[in-house]
């Protein structure tokens, strides 16, 4: 084990002082001194650890989040630059190093304390606590749609605003005028009365000696000049000419390549290995047994792959090869039956008396839904280059949690955390997968046995079969309607809860609710998958609401509207999506339209899907999306995230299915785990509401509503209610029936 002890991180938090630069909103101690060598040039002044001002008046924002296409580097820099009144055309962006001084205290605070408004006098202390807590758990995470809401609000905007106050004060002191006579614009302080001006760079050194308020006043949204606009993303030019560096592109002189195969059955291990079977193959350097996997190092990657194919190796199955997908669902169903019988379910939510209300309901509806396991399948297969030298380990990879990876590698190699460095590259897709450090730990272990750097690249087959999977699940509903078709009871029982906690909750005014779950463990490794539990629960709940509407003989949009009368935010989003989609306009017989609404990560999204079903052939010409994230910092980025979240969720809804055969994943590559392609991709229209409520996320909330909106639309077109995903396993040829024909 590494020496990552409680004492170690507390010691690093103690101030040494003596530096020119100083803190803004966080407990600084000597942090600027500690990070200076990581980010600054000789003449740069560092404000906090998120901002530096160079002598040429270039403003650099240091962002502690990984760029995986969500535009977070640009969006977070906008938040700081706007509060600072910086010249956006002269703003550079740097990703924070995987140093423990960049453990993301803001994210920890936002995540743990939510929107708690700490008093000014407490902020230094509170941030100090969270900073240390973040260090302790190696938190430098990009996920949970948290970046804008936590880092952006807590670190970026406060830093920008506080630094601006310091610069104003420095100018006021120099010119012997009152701060109130000064204004700021484009990285310059102006004194209109005397027509004087000074660049931020010229004031930076003096400003760095000003003591700052911990809680500077932030701009109101009508004062924003950068936030709320859509400047071009900084990462895009390198992504159109092949120069963007992803983890897989990292190279070092003398580097060799590794290919890897893990025991196919989860829980299995290498039981027999004959390295001699490939030692004479071209380029082969070494065969390495990593206990549950085996790797071949060769001069070229293809040589390593060829040798791995030829390698004589056998694996044990960890006692898990009897598992078949049908058995897993049978176990889920049996565990649901058993715990319902015993009454020992875990409770998510209980209000009123759902069981009594069901007994007295005029109409009771039952439905059971199922979803399969899902892999993440980012376009860039897992990979990591590692170099163990001089008592240290350096890693080049794409990670959603570089500091966490460094900690896991330090544990695996028995090194100090200080001796492990992650050079984070662009991520060729993350979606939650790149929060798991398995591939980095493998690369480090492989590299620790040789004197040269090694680049480990997984095959697509390995990527598909050794993911951390979105759980499969069964969810059962019983709903009650009164004589007027008004829902009076909502009973939901499902297997396997992860998070967020509120994912199965509904916003609807239904008096008696009981939402419960039962754990039913399997040997399949679980992982965060874009929107996590919301990805399945929105499908379950928004399908069942649709079923209740149909049972009540009501239009599904009007039905939802009535149940959202006390939820004006939801109502506005729902109405906007319906209006923009032309809800209620007549459709041709082969067409269908479906609606859904779901809140996740603080953001409410409604989606209306149009489908055509001709001779059982499904096409999805259009998705209309309305989103309220409180305030949208970068509207085009928000639209891009809605497009992306919808495509990701639609891929899963249409095709996504990882199934277990003889204990292992049956699928292997894009031919048997298919993806949405250009010819099936809908037009996506995004409409944004700025309600002024607390900020929500963007990367994930587009995903949950798409599956139910799609299957609700298929029901509307065909009368076929899809209760089990993916859609592609269903025959949609039945077109003799239409909801509107019978309703």
């Amino acid at each position: 084990m590494g020496k990552w002890s409680r004492r170690a991180f507390i010691t690093t938090g103690i101030a040494a002082g003596g530096v020119v630069v100083f803190g803004v909103a966080i407990r600084r101690g000597d942090r600027t001194a500690k990070v200076r060598h990581l980010i600054a040039n000789e003449n740069d002044a560092i404000f906090d650890t998120w901002l530096k001002i160079a002598p040429d008046n270039t403003i650099t924002v240091i962002v502690p989040h990984a760029e995986m296409g969500q535009g977070v580097h640009t969006t977070l820099a906008m938040m700081l630059a706007d509060e600072l009144d910086a010249d956006w055309s002269r703003v550079d962006i740097l990703e924070a190093p995987s140093d423990k001084e960049y453990a993301n205290y803001a994210l920890a605070r936002g995540y743990t304390a939510g929107g708690v408004d700490f008093p000014a006098w407490l902020i230094d202390t509170v941030d100090g606590i969270f900073f240390r807590a973040s260090q302790a758990i190696g938190l430098q995470l990009t996920g949970g749609s948290t970046s804008v809401r936590t880092t952006g609000q807590i670190a970026m905007r406060v830093t920008g605003a506080a630094a601006r106050i310091a610069l104003l004060q420095a100018a006021a002191d120099e010119w012997q005028v009152s701060v109130s006579e000064l204004t700021t614009r484009d990285s310059t302080v102006l004194h209109a009365a005397s027509e004087r001006s000074a660049t931020y760079a010229s004031l930076a050194e003096a400003a760095a000696r000003v003591t700052l308020p911990s809680k500077p006043v932030l701009k109101s949204s009508d004062e924003f000049s950068i936030m709320g606009t859509s400047p071009q993303r900084h990462d895009i030019p390198a992504k159109v000419d092949g120069t963007a560096m992803f983890g897989i592109d990292a190279t070092l002189p003398g580097m060799k390549y590794a290919a890897i195969q893990a025991a196919p059955v989860f829980g299995g291990a290498v039981s027999k290995l004959d390295p001699a079977s490939v030692q004479d193959m071209p380029g082969v350097r070494k065969v390495i047994n990593l206990d549950n996997s085996v790797a071949v190092i060769a001069d070229g990657y293809w040589q390593a792959r060829m040798a791995l194919d030829q390698l004589q190796v056998e694996y044990s199955d960890g006692g898990n090869s009897h598992w078949e997908q049908s058995d897993i669902f049978s176990q889920f169903a049996a565990d649901l039956d058993q715990s319902a019988e015993a009454g020992d379910e875990e409770t998510d939510l209980a209000s009123g008396d759902a069981r009594a209300a069901l007994r007295s309901a005029a109409q009771v509806l039952d439905a059971e839904y199922r979803v399969p396991y899902l892999a993440h399948s980012p376009m860039e297969p897992m990979n990591c280059m590692a170099w163990v030298h001089d008592g240290s380990c350096e890693l080049w990879t794409g990670s959603q949690n570089p500091l966490g990876f460094a900690k896991d590698v330090s544990d695996a190699l028995g090194m100090d955390l200080d001796d492990v460095t992650v050079h984070n590259q662009y991520l060729g897709g993350g979606f939650g997968r790149r929060g798991f450090s398995d591939y980095a730990v493998q690369a480090a272990r492989i590299a620790s046995s040789v004197p040269y750097p090694v680049k480990l690249v997984w095959s697509r087959e390995e990527d598909t079969r050794h993911d951390h999977y979105r759980q499969a699940s069964i969810s059962r509903f019983r709903g009650g309607l009164d004589a007027n078709g008004k829902p009076v009871a909502w009973h939901n029982h499902y297997v396997n809860k992860h998070d967020p906690e509120e994912a199965p909750h509904i916003p609807y005014a239904i008096g008696n609710q009981r939402i419960v779950y039962t754990e039913s463990k399997t040997h399949v490794p679980w992982g965060f998958w874009r929107s996590v539990d919301h990805s399945l629960h929105a499908f379950f709940t928004e399908s069942f609401v649709d079923e209740l509407a149909f049972a009540a003989g009501r239009d599904p949009y009007e039905f939802r509207r009535e149940l959202l009368q006390d939820e004006p935010r939801y109502l506005a989003v729902l109405d906007l999506a319906a209006e923009k989609a032309g809800w209620g306009e007549p459709l041709a017989k082969h067409q269908g339209r479906g609606i859904s609404i779901h809140r996740s990560f603080g953001t409410i999204v409604a989606e209306v899907v149009d489908v055509d079903v001709v001779d059982g052939e499904l096409t999805v010409p259009r998705v209309v999306c309305a989103v309220d994230a409180g305030y949208t910092i970068h509207p085009d980025g928000m639209a891009a995230q809605m497009e992306s979240g919808i495509a990701y969720g639609m891929t899963a809804a249409l095709y996504g299915e990882i199934s277990i055969r003889h204990g292992a994943v049956a699928q292997s590559n894009f031919h048997d785990y298919p993806m949405l392609r250009m010819d099936k991709a809908p037009i996506v229209e995004t409409h944004i509401i700025n309600s002024g409520k607390p900020l929500g996320g963007a990367g994930e909330p587009g995903t949950p509503p798409i599956a139910p909106a799609l299957t609700n639309a298929i029901f509307n077109a065909t009368g076929i209610r899809i209760r089990e995903l993916p859609v592609q396993q269903h025959d949609l040829k039945r077109t003799d029936f239409r909801e509107t024909d019978v309703a």
Partner: protein, 163 residues
């Protein structure tokens, strides 16, 4: 030794002739803009041009490319650094998200526009269906292709008018 012509430059590499062109381009020639996605010609991340035609380099043995013209994403930028109209359109439409598939997308689109300067939606569907994007940038790719087609046609008209 195998001799290859990539982006107009000649490279000699000592590899097994059965090695997929992708790994030769990336690991031996050192051009990393071309990406590995699936290894079985299912995703298009590795798309390059062989004599102007789009191919999946992950499933093409390097021997096929001997004495042929190979063009990668790095090779469609003009010598003076001017971007290909598709690359510019990709910036204007803010197409990429993670960006990993975009070299392949642009190479497929470039081959399409070379043969069909005014593609219809159906033409775009057909030419681009071999390229997967997990970030779902398809609607923007479609817009990007149309924008680039317009730019190319305007340039062409100007050239014709001037002539």
């Amino acid at each position: 030794m195998i001799t290859l012509k990539i982006n107009g430059e000649t490279h000699s590499v000592d590899v097994d002739p059965a090695t997929p062109l992708l790994w030769v381009i990336r690991d031996y020639v050192g051009l990393t803009g071309t990406k590995f996605g699936c290894g079985i010609a299912q995703c298009g991340a590795c798309t390059v041009h062989l004599n102007g035609a789009p191919i999946r380099s992950c499933a093409t043995p390097v021997q096929v490319a001997i004495d042929q013209e190979v063009t990668t994403i790095e090779g469609i930028v003009k010598n003076d650094g001017e971007l290909h109209p598709l690359q510019q359109a990709w910036i204007d439409e803010q197409v990429p998200q993670c960006g990993y598939c975009q070299s392949g997308q642009i190479m497929s689109a470039a081959a399409l526009l070379e043969n069909n300067p005014s593609p219809s939606d159906a033409d775009i569907d057909q030419a681009m269906a071999g390229n997967v994007c997990r970030c779902g940038t398809y609607p923007r790719i479609r817009k990007g292709i149309k924008r680039a087609a317009l730019a190319i046609n305007v340039l062409h008209e100007e050239a014709t008018t001037d002539g």
